[in-house]
Amino acid sequence: MTTTRRQFLRGATGSLGFLAAASSLPRWMGSAHAATLGGYAGSRVAVCVFLLGGNDSNNVLVPRLGNPYQHYRDARNVLRLELDQLLTINPTGLAAGAYGLHPSLTKVRDHFEQGRAAFVCNVGPMVLPLTKADYTASLAVPENLFSHSDQQDAWASALANPTTSTLTSDLKVTGWGGRTADKLHVLNTSTPPDYPEVTSFGGKQRFSVGGTRKPLMVAADGTLAFRTTTTPPSAFDQLQSQALQDVMGIQDGVALEASYAGVFGTAQTFARARAEAREEAWSRIDGVTRGKIETLFETPVGKDRWSLHVQLYQVVRDLVAGAIPAASGGLGLKRQVFSVGFGSFDTHQNQDVDHPELLAQLDYGLDAFQQAMNLLELDPAFGANAPQSTLFTMSDFSRTLLENSEQGTDHAWGGHALVMGNRVAGRKLYGTFPDLDLSGTLDGSTDNKGRWIPTLSVEQYGFTLASWLGLSTVAERDYVFPNLPGYVQDAVTRGFPALAQRYKLAFMLPD
């Protein structure tokens, strides 16, 4: 094959003829070592929850015992959580009550204690494993640390060195969700063909963009449809729609016009398929279950500005549409990735007021989603193949342990991420919790404010999730996470702790 699939699609986006042609290509073409459904024959989805602005995970997960708690107190005068405020958790392998969660996270605490949630500690963008000396000498330090946009991109792309990386420029602007979709695409024999693996209602756009696979971006309220003058569309509407489709193919030899037309083609093709599949698939779910799910996601009184639960409700609707087989009116997708997110985590000021509210929104949305998944697991529509979900958080960075003068905290680096789902090996902390002692050696911090040098990389975190979805071969791994082999190799060569030497973490249950 002399033209890549991508060039093929690119050259033909002006008309929809490409869809029919693409569907007739063998699924394995160009993917000799393919991703595998091996783990699960039913539908699996991963849901990225992006906490935009930099979540202060120092106040999400707090050590409760002995010196660590005292060190935490020492750094935080206004923002500290007292022992009686912390929600005690009992992670496997640690002393009882060794850690506590922020008081807003009551439902997350329950899911954690019931084994459905885990924390991945001090994870962040990395190129190579770093000691403090490496950091001080500026060796392999991620580009533009502490900058929102760059660090959001680093998390979303799993590429902390976009300038110096030898990756081609078109892949540098993709995300690891989208690149995972590039490789999982062979597993999805959807109707219509080539339905996007990734659907985004919010979060960081780059995460969803693949090299060959483009995401379906949808408004947070779930709407994606072209207006017509009548319902159902009249002959005039069909004439107008067809003419517009043709007009998109006329691009004057101008590159940006082709870019625009490409986005338009994706939207026009899949908007209607999605709308129809959502309605049809949802009707296959037991009415009582549907009612319970709708109730779970109702907006709490006075929380009209909350958005996460609105987005996660749409994820439920779209994952059901994806999981119901095409023969029953669904899309028949085996693997999907979703992106949601919400902002205002940049708590330089008044964190004591704002952060609890943000975490309350997180707690509410995550709990509603997990409960909905628990209900769907029992729904007869899926038989033995109920959809499985793993929800995971990302954020620009964590924040300084040392509070600033305005009841706030500033930009930092490594932080704690949350994973939740029935396939998570929960009630556990993974990774190494940082040393919070700001009067000590500061070996684990860039400076005396408590900006943790990550001891796990975004790639290790991401690859664990991507392999749960079905990424299998070394080539696939290195395509989606190009810095991961070098990271692990360097950790081995220079004798970093065992965790740094692993490609994958243990927070997903084995299949």
């Binding site: 760059d150 003419a243 007009v247 691009q251 940006l256 040392l402």
Partner: protein, 555 residues
């Protein structure tokens, strides 16, 4: 207040409801225009296409004079009559009919913005201020309400911010930077207000770095060190880009800019704060909360040891203003907002040199910079230079898409029905909710790539996805087919004959660049029996043309 900003608007006297009735007969009004096309297309005597392009770049959309004599300011005919340089001179002196109004009772600021954009005379001032608002970002979404003020804090703050940018749009960059730095809206947005160098016990603490960092990264320097032509400087030893500033310099600027608070009768004690916001005045300096020590700024320059908050602010801003990164960093972004996403390095260089020193030897004269951008050979002519055409232009941002469509259609706006809010909500649906950018990185970042182009920039594409591109189509659909009461289009102003209609759209909306294939596809659609009556055909042609790639990318 809205009524005072109106210029060429008429009220719907009786009924704005439109009946899709029998075909109209009225002839196209501007048939004689082509005869005035100049043989020599120069700055002083620009042709019609060149003049339309100029108005696409320098206003919120070209308008037609429609035989009004003399042709009103801002119309294609006027630009052709007086030339580009004189058009610019006129625009530089125009002032807003009224400032943005932050009163609770006033219309939403987005509504005020769009009304001024579609009907105000001071087109270039607002266009440049809008570009500046996407560099010096303050978002109405992130100014909290305070129970201590008698007004709406977010609205008052943003009205003041937009007025500040409008006032300084053609002034000096250094003056603008200082006004922004001291402004209470920015002070709150990026935490410079009440940013103290001491706690209540009198011990030194590290001030908040937020404003210092974003001022360096987004308002003045950017992250990599730049050549004058906007290209990135690479360190030959490491092969990596040189950076424009260090972490230590961020902290130095944070210290140098510490000690400012809300305007009040007196400063608080050391470590204390003023807790009553005042968004009607700039912040004031309080030396008790200022880090008086000398700070190492850029290029080896230090602030004076023992200096006051006010003195250190001047030294810090002078230092950053004089950095060689500022001219290319700001010039390139202004070019991207006005003309093209991918200017050649030579174009950036020409404009940056004017930023560095204009004809009078002034640095940072934005009036000279804007003139240099719009009079440049890369921006002028009936079409972009031939060799640059494949990579030229920029996707119309949602706001510009809305205003360009509306100004071409020249509708009657019913000011009792808040047409500006309608326009603003359409822009919002496409991902640009004025003045409420989702973050300090504005609606879209200047370095965002255009999809599938292998390296071209396309900042506006950062907010173009399946959802917002659907919203683009739905905006046009709603405007044309639901006949919004606040915005009444007189379709009699368009030619009724199919061929004349398509020719008219090609000549004006696409300034003579309509490809034969597009022309043919439109004619085929209009000739289809399902196209319906003449009015329906006009709407069909408008829908297809406005959403065509040829129109969506401003060239």
């Amino acid at each position: 207040m809205l009524r005072r900003t109106t210029l060429a608007l008429a009220f719907c006297a009786v009924s704005c409801a439109e009946v899709e009735g029998p075909p109209e007969q009225s002839p196209p009004p501007a048939a004689a225009l082509g005869e005035t096309q100049q043989a020599v297309d120069s700055l002083e005597t620009p042709g019609e296409a060149n003049s339309i392009r100029f108005l696409e770049q320098s206003s919120f959309g070209p308008r037609l004079g429609r035989n009004v004599s003399p042709a009103p300011v801002g119309t294609v005919e006027h630009v052709m009559a007086v030339g580009i340089p004189q058009s610019l001179t006129e625009q530089f002196s125009l002032q807003p009919a009224a400032p943005f109004n932050g009163d609770v009772a006033a219309a939403d600021l987005g509504s005020q913005f769009f009304l001024r954009a579609v009907s105000g005379e001071d087109q270039l001032r607002l266009r440049v201020a809008f570009a500046l608002s996407q560099i010096f970002v303050v978002s109405q979404l992130d100014i909290p309400e305070s129970p201590r003020t008698a007004y709406s804090d977010p609205k008052t703050a943003l009205a003041a911010h937009l007025n500040l940018l409008s006032t300084h749009a053609f002034g000096n960059f250094r003056t603008l930077l200082e006004a922004v730095t001291k402004s209470s809206a920015m002070g709150r947005y990026l935490d410079m207000v009440n940013n103290r160098a001491f706690n209540g016990a009198g011990d030194r603490i590290d001030p908040n770095e937020n404003y210092a960092r974003e001022m360096l990264q987004l308002f003045t320097l950017g992250i990599p060190k730049l050549n004058m032509d906007g290209t990135v400087q690479i360190d030959p030893l490491t092969g990596k880009p040189r950076t424009a500033y260090t972490e230590e310099q961020v902290q130095a600027f944070a210290s140098a800019l510490s000690g400012w608070t809300w305007k009040a009768a007196a400063c608080p004690a050391k470590g204390g704060a003023i807790n009553v916001p005042d968004y009607t005045q700039p912040m004031m300096p309080c030396n008790a909360n200022h880090d008086e020590r000398s700070q190492q700024l850029l290029r080896g320059v230090s602030t004076t040891a023992g200096g006051t908050a006010a003195v250190h602010l001047q030294q810090a801003l002078d230092n950053v203003f004089n950095d060689p990164n500022v001219p290319p960093f700001i010039s390139k972004q202004l070019i991207q907002h006005l003309v093209t996403s991918n200017p050649t390095p030579a174009y950036v260089n020409r404009v940056a040199l004017v930023f560095k020193s204009d004809a009078n030897g002034d640095r940072g004269n934005l009036m000279s910079v804007v003139r240099a951008i719009l009079e440049d050979a890369e921006a002028r002519g009936a079409q972009p230079p031939l060799a640059l055409r494949p990579g030229f232009g920029h996707l119309r941002s949602p706001a510009l898409f809305v205003t360009n469509v509306v100004r071409w259609l020249d509708p009657t706006l019913d000011l009792t029905k808040d047409p500006g809010l309608r326009l603003s909500n359409w822009s919002r649906s496409m991902g640009q909710w004025v003045p409420r950018s989702p973050s300090v990185f504005s609606y879209y970042p200047p370095n965002a790539p255009a999809p599938d182009t292998d390296g071209l920039l396309g900042p506006e594409f950062a907010i173009l996805d399946t959802a917002t591109i659907t919203a683009r189509a739905n905006f046009v659909h709603e405007l044309l087919y639901t006949n919004p009461a606040a915005i009444t289009v007189d379709y009699n102003l368009l030619p009724s004959d199919n061929a004349a209609l398509v020719a008219w759209l090609g000549r004006y909306w696409l300034h003579g660049t309509m490809a034969p294939a597009l022309e043919q596809r439109l004619l085929t659609a209009l000739a289809d029996p399902d196209a319906g009556v003449v009015l329906r055909k006009k709407k069909l042609a408008l829908y297809l043309t406005s959403l065509s790639p040829s129109f969506q990318v401003q060239r």
